[in-house]
């Protein structure tokens, strides 16, 4: 038995899989912002009760948390000091000197402020060059002075980031000793440990982020461990989701705070990939539409993409991060009229508080959810299984007053307009994401989840020429399911920076071997037997003179000719050209260790139903007027998702409702419930 727990802003989602039977159970509890561990414990208790299981059967828990993200958004991390090479204390603040795209014409838009003010950024006299040679030895007097200033400045964490430390960490390590001696107990993050890659600003930014978040996340993890131990009388095996889409132990998570940021959306991507495999689609685009955002992830050949060049809240991080784009389009996105008289939707959201006007919690602005309600796509009496009763009159009022009347349009036309505009925004997001990565969207299936995903997915697919939409089972708890199926993961990197032609396979092999040894040790320590361990060697490579790299897998025999050939092929696929006569530079060596968890084998529902053969006809639970593009309001059948028999087919235009979401099936589409409870929509 395994449990996945995803703590979101509003709800804590819990999924339990009984490995003996393949049965899945889920629960939703309210997130408890004061003390997040309360909500986690309540969630575990609730799901155990639903599943009628005891904690004694638990193998492990995988936990995704927004604690790091929240601390970063709310700027409630630790008071942090930074030690750098003399002459370079401002690298963190200058960054790459580029203002944000939104600030191209808007003089008020700035990059986020540095997390360490200048008086807490202290220099030490030292310098190492590109070969790792000590040009200027570490002056311990300046080091001690720097530490003393930070201690006097009452910092709660220290980041150390020296030039070229990833080639030769000797000065950073010596600084760690000096800090331990002169300022005992303060947590220290070394750039040569946190992100040992070249490009000083990005490495420093990652290290500072780790130092800034570490005291907050470690305190949470300690309190959670203690609460669980007290509740259940033993240490539970709790693993923490990383932004990379793999889990780590609590012990590792205490040190690697930065890896915990953004772990929630990563669960969603892993789940979309899992659902793709379950339903036989290797090319899927996951679209997760919640209250405030629309997350897009493109999964090519079953592999969720991982990138090392992302940023969190505007701060660059150089750690492996699941590659997803997020745009400001959700159920709570607010419709508004700009000074030129055009209707816009988002990116501002009414969020969960006050929420859409129809929630009746004081929200006055019209939102996408209000529009869906007026178009008959949401059932006012069945939202969140009836937990919230939606106020149609409030939605009507909000749309009429703020948008319809100023535009001189009827409320229904306005509501349809709001949906058209939010759909156009999402189509643009998906199109740009896929073309940026060199893919044709028409070859992909959409996996639509989040509370609002399946209300819109059919229209999006129609717009983009996509032929299949999968609405997964548990589509409102999918991130928690993703946590549950994710493997453990460790990543190590070393910058190398030599041309392939001047590299010796023996030298590379030794370097990879050293990294692999550390990775294997970590996975062993995590409790993975050798037959569950997989180790991948990859190289970030580029043509000499380029300033961006492509990550290419390498075989353990280190055939450099094969490596160059593979690089050329990757380059051709990604960038539509290759240049085999040019020198290939091997920039970073990476080793990824995966600890495979046992596969989750879901139990088919309804036993005995043959594929493709309807075992029973679907019967609508009601008919009501629902709006469809190209048709207007149609008296359409409404089906209850939980009552759809396996193999049953429903034809659009119709609506399939469930307690936490709904699927709009447009004309020309057929929806079919598969044996795992997924709803597969195909265009006829």
């Amino acid at each position: 038995m395994r449990i996945g727990i995803d703590v979101g802003g509003t709800f804590t989602d819990v999924v339990l899989v009984n490995d003996a039977t393949g049965q899945i159970h889920y629960a939703k509890t309210s997130t408890t912002p004061g003390n997040l561990a309360d909500g986690v414990l309540a969630g575990i208790e609730k799901v155990l009760a639903i599943a009628k299981k005891s904690i004694d059967d638990l193998a492990y828990i995988v936990h995704g948390t927004t604690i790091g993200t929240n601390a970063l958004i709310e700027k409630t991390g630790a008071r942090t000091g930074l030690i750098t090479t003399e002459g370079f204390v401002d690298v963190l603040e200058i960054g790459r000197c580029q203002r944000p795209k939104e600030g191209m014409y808007d003089l008020s838009v700035d990059n986020p402020p540095p997390l360490v003010p200048r008086d807490l950024r202290r220099p030490v006299k030292e310098r190492i060059d590109r070969d790792g040679t000590v040009v200027t030895p570490l002056d311990e007097g300046t080091a001690e002075a720097a530490v003393d200033v930070l201690r006097a400045g009452r910092v709660e964490a220290i980041a150390v980031s020296l030039l070229w430390s990833f080639v030769n960490p000797v000065h950073e390590r010596r600084l760690a000793d000096i800090i331990a001696r002169r300022f005992p107990g303060v947590p220290v993050s070394l750039s040569s440990t946190v992100a040992p890659e070249f490009r000083e600003f990005e490495r420093t930014s990652t290290t500072v982020l780790n130092a800034y978040l570490q005291p907050v996340t470690a305190a949470y993890l300690d309190s959670l461990s203690a609460r669980l131990a007290r509740q259940y009388g033993r240490e539970l095996d709790v693993r923490i989701m990383q932004a990379s889409g793999g889990s780590m132990t609590i012990r590792d998570a205490r040190e690697r705070a930065v890896n915990m940021v953004n772990s929630g959306p990563a669960g969603g991507v892993i789940a979309a990939s899992f659902i793709g495999q379950l339903t036989g689609f290797a090319q899927v685009i996951g679209v997760d539409m919640g209250g405030t955002s629309f997350d897009i992830s493109l999964i090519d050949r079953g592999r969720p993409p991982v990138s090392s060049e992302r940023s969190f809240c505007g701060y660059p991080v150089r750690i492996p991060v699941i590659d997803l784009d997020s745009i400001g389009a959700g159920g709570g996105s607010i419709a508004w009229i700009d000074p030129g008289g055009a209707l816009n939707v988002g990116p501002r959201s009414a969020g969960a508080q006050p929420g859409p006007a129809c929630y009746g919690r004081g929200g006055e602005r019209p939102t996408v959810t209000d529009a869906n309600l007026l178009l008959g796509r949401l059932n006012p009496k069945y939202f969140l299984g009836g937990e919230i009763s939606l106020d149609v009159e409030a939605a009507h009022q909000a749309i009429r007053q703020h948008v319809g009347d100023p535009l001189g349009m009827s409320v229904e036309d306005t509501a349809a307009g709001i949906i058209r505009i939010i759909n156009a925004t999402m189509v643009k997001g998906i199109a740009v994401n896929s073309i940026e990565r060199g893919h044709d969207v028409r070859e992909f299936a959409l996996v639509a989840f989040g509370g609002a995903g399946a209300l819109h997915a059919g229209d999006l697919a129609d717009e983009m020429g996509i032929r299949t939409v999968i609405v997964p089972t548990l589509c409102g708890n999918l991130s928690a399911l993703g946590l549950l199926v994710s493997d453990a993961r460790h990543d190590l990197v070393q910058t190398y920076g030599r041309l392939a032609t001047e590299s010796q396979p023996e030298d590379l092999s030794r370097r990879f071997g050293d990294l692999e040894k550390q990775i294997l040790e970590r996975l062993r320590r995590d409790g993975f037997p050798p037959d569950r361990i997989e180790v991948l060697w990859t190289v970030d490579a580029r043509y000499e003179g380029q300033s961006y790299e492509i990550n290419v897998p390498v075989a353990h025999d280190l055939d450099l000719r094969a490596l160059a050939r593979d690089f050329n092929a990757f380059h051709q696929r990604l960038y539509a050209y290759s240049s085999p006569q040019e020198n290939v530079q091997l920039v970073n060596l990476r080793v990824t260790g995966i600890g495979r968890v046992p596969p989750v084998r879901l139990k088919p529902l309804g036993g005995g139903a043959g594929a493709g053969r309807p075992s029973a006809a679907a019967r609508p639970k009601a008919h009501r007027p629902i709006f469809f593009f190209g048709r207007g309001f149609v008296e359409a059948p409404v089906y209850e998702r939980d009552h759809l028999p396996v193999g049953a087919e429903v034809a659009g235009p119709c609506l399939v409702e469930e307690s936490i979401a709904g699927s709009v099936i447009t004309a020309g589409w057929i929806g079919r419930a598969d044996e795992y409870g997924n709803l597969i929509l195909r265009r006829q």
Partner: protein, 576 residues
């Protein structure tokens, strides 16, 4: 034609913007050079059948409206005479005297036909790494004619009816230094244009000719109206402003950029009468760059989030005398034009400061400093060429300090990491840090400049163009000027000397070049600055104790907190 409803207009607008973005991503994905892939020095646009820009995707304000001029010219050129556009044609042009920016910026255009009728045009512009000429990469002072700057294409068919023209390919391959990169990037521009053509037809068919054209008209009117509304917030009147380029790299005389702005209702006219005649050095600014600088200021001060289409440009009228640095005649060189375009922005802001003192910003570092180090790498024996671009302080605003060490206005780009540069080139960076006290004092302080000290580990030539080494970034509304920039060779050592902002020097291994950039001016009376903010600057070492006392009238105690009594006393006497 009747306007479409505002929802259809928005849906068409997002569709068009999506096409422009898709063209951009196609180019980023398939281009060869870093300038396109990482610096994002490119723009993509769509025009209707009249050549009016209906959507644009760009990342650098310098390119706003650039294609609007040439797309119209392409349609004019192929509109009446013997030369005609046909389906599958691709036209290239990089002539600054035909609406281009500089020779390095290649433009590619493709017509869109539906059932034999021209329905629109797609275009893009991208910075090439080399177009021939006397200097690799085009960075060099001392050029005096456009002929030295590279080969020019004055609207040539690169493709005819879908087939690449082999003669043009041969011509380019013969004249540029690294043909596979230049041709690779040009072909990537063509791929982007093909994507644009295909998607343009799709959106046109989806909405139908009547709705499409009506939506486009509505969209252009919408952008126009947004700009006009913004302009109406600026009091009517005539406002004059000026700024200066230090010199043209050949002589020592300054060049004046003069603007007279006439603002009436929702319209604005910009007159450059009084601007210096064109320069011998290549700081001349072709008309497309002059337009971009003016559009930038108008958009930033009236409606920064307007869709930048032809409608947004309609409220602006120009009077630009020919033969000046802002509208040169051939064969004036234009490569270092950003020296002058930056001053157009600053002069306009200075003029408008008289109209809306509470909405303008201070003078900035203006021109990004561009340096090229070229020599032979001792490690490989091969030639290296390191282009380093640095920025100074960003302007102070009526509500916030200027950004320290960040780009501003027309430039928007990323610097090269120190470790990336040292990995590749024989240099050791000794310092990359703010210059304290370089931000002009004010109620809101001007952005600090950076200083970058580079030690050469091999002999190299040092080519550069920079500005504001003589004319300081000005303060506004009572704010003080920021620091000027300077280049110092071997600071603190024997042979220390200041070198000029534009030029070429031969340096030896072991030499240190100290690039000290200009800061930005301050906004508002420094004596009104929150003493706590001034004290924080001192604690952070951004402003010295002495400057805090002298410029801000703020005195700090030994523990670095504000000495309120002394401060009040000083500020009381300071406000005479």
């Amino acid at each position: 034609m009747a306007a479409v409803d505002p929802i259809t207009m928005q849906v068409v607008r997002y569709g068009l913007e999506q096409i422009a973005d898709e063209m951009g991503y196609t180019m980023m994905r398939t281009a060869r050079s870093t300038v396109i892939k990482e610096v994002l020095d490119f723009s993509c646009a769509l025009a209707d059948r009249q050549g009016r820009t209906i959507a644009q995707a760009h990342h650098v304000p310098m390119l706003v409206g650039s294609l609007d001029i040439t797309m119209k010219r392409v349609l004019e050129h192929y509109g009446g005479g013997a030369e005609r556009l046909e389906e599958g044609d691709v036209v290239i042009s990089n002539d600054p005297y035909l609406g281009g920016q500089h020779v390095m910026d290649m433009q590619v255009f493709a017509p869109v036909f539906e059932e034999g009728t021209l329905i629109g045009l797609v275009g893009n512009i991208a910075h090439q790494v080399d177009m021939g000429g006397m200097a690799p990469g085009g960075v060099a002072g001392g050029m005096t004619e456009i002929f030295q700057e590279g080969i020019r294409f004055p609207m040539i068919k690169f493709h005819q009816r879908g087939v690449e023209n082999p003669e043009v390919i041969r011509m380019i391959a013969t004249n540029v230094r690294i043909p596979e990169v230049t041709l690779g990037d040009m072909r990537s521009q063509v791929s982007a244009a093909s994507v644009g053509v295909r998607r343009f037809k799709e959106i046109y068919r989806k909405h139908g000719p009547a709705t499409f054209q009506s939506a486009v008209d509505t969209l252009l009117n919408y952008s126009e109206e947004r700009i006009r509304q913004g302009l109406r917030q600026i009091p009517d009147g005539t406002y004059a402003g000026e700024d200066f380029v230090d010199d043209d790299g050949i002589g020592d005389e300054p060049f004046r950029v003069a603007v007279t702005i006439e603002k009436a209702g929702g319209g604005i006219a910009v007159d450059f009468e009084g601007t210096s005649p064109q320069a011998r050095g290549n700081i001349n600014c072709p008309i497309a760059s002059t337009y971009a600088a003016v559009y930038y200021v108008v958009i930033a001060l009236s409606d920064p989030h307007v869709p930048p289409n032809a409608g947004a440009f309609r409220p602006v009228e120009f009077r630009i005398p020919e033969g000046t640095v802002v509208n040169p005649r051939p064969p004036a060189g234009v490569t270092a034009r950003t020296n002058t375009t930056a001053k157009i922005v600053e002069a306009m802001i200075r003029a408008l400061a008289q109209a809306v003192p509470d909405r303008v910003v201070s003078g900035s570092h203006a021109q990004s400093t561009t340096c090229g180090f070229v020599g032979y790498h001792p490690r490989t024996g091969k030639r290296f060429s390191f282009t380093d671009i640095e920025v100074g302080g960003a302007p102070a605003r009526p509500y916030r300090d200027g950004r320290d060490g960040q780009d501003s206005h027309l430039a928007r780009f990323m610097n090269t990491p120190i470790e990336a540069a040292e990995m590749e080139f024989p240099i050791l960076v000794e310092r990359f840090q703010f210059r304290p006290d370089s931000g002009g004092a004010g109620l809101y302080r001007g952005g600090l400049a950076v200083q970058r000290d580079i030690r050469l580990l091999a002999d190299a030539s040092f080519a550069r163009y920079a500005d504001r080494h003589k004319f300081a970034p000005w303060g506004v509304a009572g704010g003080k000027d920021g620091a000027v920039g300077e280049f110092v060779l071997n600071p603190g050592r024997e042979g220390e000397q200041r070198v000029r902002s534009k030029g070429l020097s031969e340096l030896r291994a072991g030499d240190v070049v100290s690039l000290r950039l200009p800061g930005a001016g301050g906004f508002g009376d420094p004596l009104k600055r929150d003493p706590e903010a001034a004290a924080r600057d001192v604690r952070e070492g951004k402003v010295s104790r002495e400057a805090a006392r002298r410029d801000y009238g703020v005195v700090l105690k030994a523990d670095m907190t504000v000495d309120e009594i002394e401060t009040a006393r000083l500020r009381g006497t300071g406000q005479t």
